[in-house]
């Protein structure tokens, strides 16, 4: 007996029991072979990798029904469950994974400064390290195309729209009073500190049906979901001080931040054009609390701010100047919950409350107003597949505004309004392929004040023209109720309307981004009134119209030159409007035909420093010279500003920061003011409206104390 033979036989017998071969070919949707795909029987060791022709073949001893799995990076995992004997000569087509990075994105109108966002043009850090932005997120966004330079205002003016046409949202919930009040020749700043946010999306048109009550633009800020570590941030600045602390627990965290700003020492060293009685002074506190649940995240954000100033401003009509005093108190609360429900549903619920109280004295007029606003929002998202997603939501906005007016002649009158709006929307995201995507939505709004129902369709379509480029188009209707300055006098009106048409081309090639966007906007139903200023005696209607057409270009490159990152924005804008008190259609004074912005950041390794430069050019803005016939008949000279900053890392946790706005001291002109009455020669005297200060210096020292000292406040600058 040949024992060895028997053993050999037994071995082969065991291993040869019902051995079957599984084979086939793997291709993509266009029948190109896929090489390197992982093919295996789930739950077994049997499998292989496809060869360069996409073929695979392997043996298995498994019997019965099994699942064949084919996985490969950037394709959807393929599974086939069948009897082993059927698993041969397979022809398998893998579907592209639409979550992969090279999938087309709906990008018309949108600039994203997110972390992993595919369409990110700015990084979170850029918001705060841009020279000239002075740590203000709004200031940094003004270096992007589509914005116009209204230097004395500081708010966002987008594509021929005025500042009230841009709405700001924190975690999807509306902010009703986003800006700090300032004197008329000093630019304002965003109220909220940029380092609480890790995602910023700035849409200059054609945005989703989720957002309403904005004619021109939305700015979406997302607070940080999960801070990394416990730390204390200390900042000492030439204009004040900040203190922040983050505390972490197992499933929750709390960040608090307080700041105090006082311009008095600065103004006494570098006097400006205002005659300050009480220079700007403000204190603010912010807190974010986050709690993680098994399948959801709760965020509570609160900000409180008090500010005030008192001054005398030059005015051509008043020889002693105009006395101005302002005190503002602002409270903002925002709470939201995001969660995942079963079966690919996710849910979001949020609520915000704004309380804003202002007390203004102008010469002898005493104006007090208070705004109470709420926004509640609920939305559901269903993920049918990677190819089809549906969003539905509802929201309610409520604004209650009251004002009291008093002067030596009028002995106290009060007036106000309630502006409540109910809205519902639905929007679908459809990916036809990796190369083509559609977003189509519909928004319905009901205004209780006007008893008016509006319907806004929104549509955008994106098509990938090559591996690195894509074109998108967008269309949408946008409605917005008139702002508080009008509604407090007249409520028998209707919503203002805007229609956007956008064509976008984008090229994104490894550290280099080019975007070109052409648009046309058509405004109707704008508010008009028949007096110089809006007041009780004016008669109002919705007969105003406007248009804006333009081209925005953006180029960014951080690859070509080592340690240098730069971007260039150019906007061309042609816009005229007939609204408010305009006698004829004219180019408004917040429109610049040409806007150019160049921002550079250079990291000098030996100096442990980041040096930044930003240059802004804007062509002149219109103004009315009553000595010549006509309305908005003249144009100011162009605006130029070169700003520098320098961040020096003393150590990983200590940063010294310098910045100078308008290094060259260029004398910019915001406009001209004319006397109300002509002199004896029939000539209207004029004075130049100049910024409060041509230049601004800033020095700060920022220190982060953390357990393991690697974090710093570069974010904070």
């Amino acid at each position: 007996m040949k024992l060895s033979l028997l053993i050999f036989f037994l071995f082969t017998l065991t291993s040869g029991v019902s051995q079957s071969i599984i084979n086939g070919k793997v291709t993509d949707a266009k029948n190109n072979p896929v090489e390197g795909a992982n093919v295996y029987l789930e739950g077994t060791y049997d499998g292989t990798t496809t060869d360069k022709n996409g073929n695979f073949s392997f043996k298995t001893e498994e019997i019965g029904t099994k699942t064949l799995k084919i996985s490969f990076v950037s394709y959807e995992t393929f599974t086939l469950t069948n009897d082993i004997s059927e698993l041969n000569n397979l022809k398998i087509k893998l579907r592209e994974d639409l979550n992969a990075l090279d999938t087309v994105v709906i990008s018309a109108g949108t600039f994203s400064a997110g972390d992993n966002s595919k369409i990110s043009v700015l990084k979170p850090l850029d918001i705060v390290t841009t020279a000239g932005a002075m740590g203000d997120f709004v200031g940094a966004l003004q270096t992007l195309p589509g914005t116009t330079t209204v230097a004395e205002d500081g708010r966002l003016f987008v594509r021929g729209g005025d500042a009230s046409e841009t709405q700001i949202f924190i975690d999807g919930i509306r902010v009703f009073t986003p800006y700090v009040p300032t004197s008329s020749n000093t630019p304002t700043r965003g109220r909220y500190s940029p380092f609480l946010f890790d995602g910023i999306t700035f849409s200059t048109g054609g945005y989703s049906a989720e957002y309403g009550q904005a004619l021109s633009s939305v700015l979406l800020l997302n607070t940080i979901d999960e801070p990394d570590q416990e730390k204390t941030d200390i900042g000492i600045m030439s204009v004040g001080a900040t203190l922040g602390h983050t505390e972490l627990w197992e499933n929750s965290s709390l960040s608090v931040n307080g700041s105090y700003i006082n311009l008095a020492p600065y103004v006494s060293l570098f006097p400006d054009r205002n005659d300050w009685i009480e220079p700007f002074q403000g204190g603010s506190g912010e807190a974010v609390f986050r709690k993680k649940f098994d399948s959801g995240l709760l965020k509570l954000y609160t900000a409180f701010e008090m500010s005030g100033f008192e001054l005398i401003q030059e005015d051509i009509n008043f020889t002693d100047g105009v006395y101005n005093k302002l005190n503002n108190t602002n409270l903002y609360f925002n709470g939201s919950y995001t969660g995942v429900l079963a079966d690919n549903w996710s849910v979001f619920g949020g609520l915000s409350y704004t309380y804003n109280k202002s007390k203004v004295v102008v010469i002898a007029d005493d104006i007090k107003n208070a705004e109470n606003s709420y926004h509640a929002k609920f939305k559901l998202k269903h993920h049918f597949s990677n190819r089809f997603k549906l969003n539905i939501g509802g929201e309610y906005f409520a604004t209650n505004f009251n004002e009291e007016f008093k002067n030596p002649v009028i002995n106290g009158i009060s007036y106000g309004f309630n502006n409540n709006i109910t809205a519902a929307y639905s929007e679908a995201d459809v990916f036809f392929s990796k190369n083509m995507a559609l977003q189509a939505g519909l928004r319905l709004e009901y205004s209780e004040l006007f008893k008016e129902l509006t319907l806004s369709p929104r549509l955008s379509l994106a098509y990938k023209t090559s591996d690195i480029s894509q074109i998108s188009i967008a269309y949408g209707n946008f409605y917005q109720n008139p702002n508080n300055a009008i509604l407090k006098f007249e409520q028998n009106l209707s919503a203002q309307k805007n229609t956007h048409y956008i064509l976008n081309y984008q090229l994104n090639n490894d550290g280099k981004i080019f975007r070109a966007e052409a648009y046309y906007k058509n405004y109707t139903d704008l508010i008009k009134y028949d007096t110089e200023y809006a007041d009780f005696s004016s008669s109002y209607n919705n007969s105003g119209t406007a248009y804006a057409a333009g081209l925005d270009l953006f180029w960014r490159d951080n690859k070509s030159i080592k340690n240098l990152d730069y971007w260039i924005s150019y906007s061309f804008l042609d816009s005229e409007r007939d609204y408010e008190n305009y006698p004829i259609e004219a180019t408004p004074n917040f429109v610049n035909t040409h806007n150019l912005s160049i921002v550079t950041k250079y990291w000098i390794e030996n100096w442990k420093s980041q040096v930044g430069m930003s240059y802004a050019f804007a062509s002149g803005r219109s103004y009315t010279n009553p000595n010549l016939g006509g309305f908005l008949n003249q144009e100011t000279k162009s605006y130029n500003n070169l700003s520098l900053n320098w961040a020096y890392l003393i150590s990983q946790q200590k940063i010294l920061y310098f910045s100078v706005n308008n290094v060259l001291g260029i004398k910019n002109i915001d406009g001209y003011q004319y006397a109300k009455v002509p002199d004896s020669h029939g000539n209207y005297a004029s004075s130049t409206l100049r910024p409060a200060a041509d230049q601004f210096f800033f020095v700060g020292f920022f220190w982060t104390i953390s357990e393991k000292g690697t974090d710093n406040q570069l974010n904070n600058l």
Partner: protein, 209 residues
């Protein structure tokens, strides 16, 4: 047939059976480690297949991730490929974590994944992941203060940060020396449990001299 023959046959049968039962995993893992020398991606795929057959074992998904992560350091300039690869590695790490919670070895691997991002684009990811990396090392250190890979990789990260900011790296050299001592006495928990890093520690120490 004699009893002896029957015994041999019986032994042969049981051996073949047990050989298969035992060696499928061992053979698979050994083959994957051998493949790793030649082709990291295919090795990762083999680890993925083993993971599918061994749903209770955290090691196959751990290595499926490690192969991709270490390979990522050679693809720092190819952003699209790198991100796809790291996304895949992340799913394997998630699988591994689901099987073995609070595992310092997996935390080290997660920190390394973030380190690849930071190495590829410090401007974008330095701020984003820097804090997370150090938090992971701190957490791993609390769980396993004498694990040589925890000590080594934490020191490696600190050295990277210090040299980026032009600071003295000497304070961390002591940690590297300590890691080397720990490697000398380290006993892996099982045949395929993580046992890498000694060479890396030696290499990093050269910069300290």
């Amino acid at each position: 047939m004699t009893y002896f023959k029957l015994f041999i046959i019986g032994l042969a049968i049981s051996l073949t059976g047990s050989l298969y039962a035992q060696t499928n995993y061992e053979k698979g893992m050994e083959k994957a480690f051998a493949l790793w020398e030649i082709n990291a991606i295919e090795a990762s795929q083999l680890f993925e297949r083993i993971a599918s057959a061994e749903p209770e074992n955290w090691l196959p998904p751990y290595y499926a991730a490690e192969t991709l992560i270490l390979d990522g350091f050679s693809k720092l300039d190819n952003k699209n490929v790198l991100e796809s690869q790291l996304n895949l590695a992340q799913t394997f790490l998630n699988d591994a974590t689901a099987i073995s919670k609070n595992n310092p070895e997996i935390m080290v691997m997660q920190a390394l994944l973030y380190t690849v991002y930071v190495a590829s684009d410090g401007m974008t990811y330095g701020m984003m992941y820097g804090g997370k990396v150090i938090a992971l090392y701190n957490q791993a250190e609390k769980l396993a203060p004498n694990n040589p890979r925890v000590v080594l990789n934490k020191a490696g990260w600190e050295i990277g940060g210090a040299s980026y900011f032009g600071q003295d790296i000497q304070p961390f050299c002591k940690d590297l020396e300590r890691a080397l001592e720990l490697f000398a006495t380290f006993k892996p928990e099982s045949q395929f449990a993580p046992n890498w890093g000694k060479e890396r520690a030696e290499e990093l120490l050269k910069d300290c001299k």
